[in-house]
Symmetry: C2
Subunit: 150 residues, 2 copies
């Protein structure tokens, strides 16, 4: 049914309601499973809010910030990839525009199902809703939008 499933995640979306479905679909299909989290090159102030305080943020330029945020994302996602039994090499943290990066990865890596949250948590609803939207419109493969359940 599916051969390569891509779980597109926010850092704060690492919740059981969506992971359960990713796991079950992977087990059912025996597909390869990759996870992607896109870091957007946006102002430092945003990073502090989403990723927590970063030491000496003011002294780091935008490329440096991105590097730190990538490292931070990698750490934050460790428990997730362990729970989902994903190999480190199948965890991808590109920098760029969220839906563009997800769609590019999906196309380059022959992904046939993208799993994403349909609405965000923690007040980012509008942002994440429009990402799901852009993925739905741009994807050349199937898209499963998992609805957040509190």
């Amino acid at each position: 049914m599916y051969k390569h499933i891509l779980f597109a995640t926010e850092l704060n979306e690492t919740k059981s309601y969506i992971e359960d479905k990713v796991t079950q679909l992977q087990q059912f299909t025996q597909a390869k499973l990759s996870v992607i989290h896109v870091v957007e090159p946006i102002p430092n102030a945003y990073y502090v809010g989403v990723y927590g305080a970063i030491p000496n943020l003011d002294s780091i330029d935008s490329i440096g910030t991105t590097k730190i945020v990538k490292e931070r994302s990698k750490e934050v996602l460790q428990p997730l990839i362990k729970r989902l039994n994903i190999e480190e090499k199948n965890m991808h943290i590109p920098v760029g525009h969220v839906s563009d990066e997800i769609l590019a990865f999906a196309e380059n890596e022959n992904v046939d199902l993208i799993i994403t949250g349909s609405h965000g948590v923690h007040g980012l609803q509008l942002l994440l809703g429009s990402t799901a939207n852009a993925i739905l419109h741009g994807a050349k493969c199937d898209v499963l939008a998992v609805r957040f359940k509190a």
Copy 2:
């Protein structure tokens, strides 16, 4: 994983690429499976294009047309519900606005997964794309958008 799957279909979407996925997900989850096709109350000329020639169309008023189109839809969907092993009582052909009717049914009947095409066939791409969109935004459950493969 899912207890009630709703397959939202266009008449001309009754293709194996999407049915295969509906069938497999139903078998995997052992969910109840319903199918819905919404008839939109729109001009007669449109019906002729989508549903084929209807005898004496000009002499039928708009409500009458809808009734005929509902009957015609029921006939057209018969092979589909047989292939998917769906009981007649789980085939629904409401009249109204497509995404509104799908979302209302999903909510009233405790649907937890809506499966729909992500893009239309036969030149209706824009229309169906925006329907998938409206479903994604309005749904209180998961949505699987299946990409058309020719």
